[in-house]
Symmetry: C2
Subunit: 348 residues, 2 copies
DNA sequence: GGTAAATCTTTACGCGCGACAAGTTTTATC
DNA sequence: GATAAAACTTGTCGCGCGTAAAGATTTACC
């Protein structure tokens, strides 16, 4: 702390500082285990002292494969995607990769720009929550020819590697519960921002039919983008003015839709919940962080975003040929559907 | 679409494809206006056809200043920060910069890592929402010596460039309203994750005293990190069990705290709102996207995150010597406190 | 049409590091 | 202590592009 060294900028500077040759230091940064233990400790101490980190651009310019992972999510304000992202970021960092997150913000042109940015960065691999039918399928598939890509949340097509929630299972679960415990659920959709919108709708219908019940669908206005709460709120206000929902139980395509429905119901003076004195039951899907703090706490189905993130990363690393910890058991195939877990609270 | 050209990878390839020399093309990518209109159009057409983008690493390796901006936020799941981030990302992109967002996730060591990552990327400038007292002040200030840094949300110290909300004004506003319209507000704090925790507390006390009222502070348990809702929920459950709040109006340090309070009050059978039949008024601060969909809709003070983002970016670009649009009026000094706007809804 | 200015081309260097080859020193093994 | 293997050093090349200098060509203007 008393001697101010000449500023160490390059790996050259750093290597003379440590008293080693640059290639040796370079080897260390590429794989710490590729140098002798004594050398490794020497370098590690010097790193702490000097705070040196190799220049990211120089490292990745002249490398077969960069250490950058590209992540694209459709909405950066949705806690589900941010939580998923954080999980992947953490795993990536542990494996020595840097996760670069871009949001397509619901807009296909931004998704395209993100793809091009990743191309210009020569990312090693990519994890993408696509915009669905509006996605630049061709561009994504083309990028997928040169680098491994994993899709999450909603599949791009029927063949690309995918990790997400089994909507059929999750809706079976919640429909089962709702039909057993009260009024038949009608289904309140979400804007068709990705394939989940259609899939969940179908999953609901299927679940109802398997129980020999008549499905009831409440169509939500399209074109409202990712502001689910507002779309659902406005639609519910409208529905309540026109006589109410077809049944006294509303199963929403996701929690954010449920937030809008509950807010509108509350403001219309309706009491939401499963009590005797309640007017409406509302259930969601996803288990957002705030769902348990709703009034009433939202009954929903929890997507296992931790597992989705972990498996997507595992799948990606597998394709990158990374030797993972043995605890990272490899998924059997490349299309993984995780089961969801029902979260019984008091809204339904 | 019929002729498949030889794959264009480098700027060299691209320049022969366009029929220009590489330095000219290079000039174009650095500043499209530095080449003749005719040439510019030529290149632009070729870019569309080929989808070529210069390799980011090569570009930034040999440049006085990179085109990367580093952004650090303390919590990637908080809609306030993600909204702020999106705003900055958009402005950065328009100016030809790439915004790289990292989250310190409330942990000082992650904040330090983020700083080091940005150093190794040689970022042109940085916008940071610091962790406050726990921040690596020394590292941040040291980084600030070599590149321009702007702080947002909560100041690092008393001298560094800063853009944020004027807590004194905003709390004056809400305290004024609350005292005028009903019971005196007590103050429900937030975990001391940054300097806002202290500042807002003081702002409340000051506002109360200026009105000759006795301030009442409800201390919140520390050490709960960024899970504000849970901390507030648990604390409220405890408080209600022990006889309730000191007054019948609770002014929360932020909306997420208010969510927790409202949820706990609801589950305790209390009615929240400003009606005659209500047991408790609850007000927040920030105006989160979900606040208007709470039950009841949350009365709060809106931080102008759009302006915070815009001004932080403007300040940064100014320091980078970028010539901005004239509509970007330059802030007079480097510490900008924005006024907040009260959002009267029905919770208080 | 002549001249200067603007714009382009050609040529060359180097950013910081990965990668590889060839030579030298250290470590492990018996 | 001899021998081979492991680990290191020295030296060199090139990734794709920014940048600068010097010369060739085009444009603008009277």
């Amino acid at each position: 702390m008393h001697a101010v060294k000449k500023t160490i900028r390059t790996m050259e500077d750093f290597s003379t500082f440590v008293g080693l040759s640059r290639p040796t230091v370079s080897k260390y940064f590429n794989d710490p285990n590729s140098v002798r233990k004594k050398t490794r400790e020497l370098i590690e101490i010097a790193v702490k002292q000097s705070g040196f980190r190799p220049n990211i651009f120089a490292v990745n310019l002249n490398r077969r494969r960069t250490n950058i992972l590209g992540i694209i999510i459709p909405n950066s304000s949705d806690p589900f995607y941010t939580a998923l992202t954080r999980r992947i970021e953490g795993i990536a960092e542990q494996a020595g990769y840097l996760a670069f997150v871009l949001s397509s913000d619901g807009k296909p042109e931004l998704e395209e720009r993100a793809i091009e940015t990743f191309k210009s960065m020569n990312v090693a691999g990519s994890i993408i929550a696509p915009l669905g039918v509006q996605s630049h399928q061709d561009k994504l598939l083309k990028l997928g020819e040169s680098i491994p890509m994993i899709y999450v949340d909603s599949p791009l097509d029927t063949t690309s590697p995918f990790v997400g929630t089994n909507n059929r299972q999750s809706f079976q679960l919640i429909v089962d519960y709702l039909t057993r415990s009260g009024d038949l659920p009608c289904y309140f959709g979400m804007p068709a921002v990705n394939s989940n919108a259609i899939e969940r709708r179908n999953a609901y219908v299927e679940a109802m039919q398997s129980l020999k019940f008549q499905p009831h669908i409440v169509e939500v206005e399209q074109g409202s983008g990712w502001d689910f709460e507002k779309a659902a709120f406005d639609a519910t206000v409208d529905i309540l003015r026109k006589g109410g929902f077809p049944t006294k139980t509303v199963l929403c395509a996701n929690d954010r839709v449920a937030f809008g429905v509950i807010a509108a119901a509350f403001q219309a003076g309706l009491k939401v919940g499963r009590g005797q004195d309640c007017d409406l039951r509302v259930a969601g899907h996803d288990d957002q962080p705030l769902s348990r703090y709703m009034c009433p706490p939202l009954t929903t189905v929890a997507q296992n975003y931790n597992e989705i993130g972990r498996l997507a990363a595992a799948l990606l690393f597998h394709k990158l040929g990374e030797h993972q910890d043995s605890k990272f058991e490899l998924p059997a195939n490349e299309r993984i559907l995780l089961n969801a877990e029902i979260m019984l609270r008091t809204s339904a």
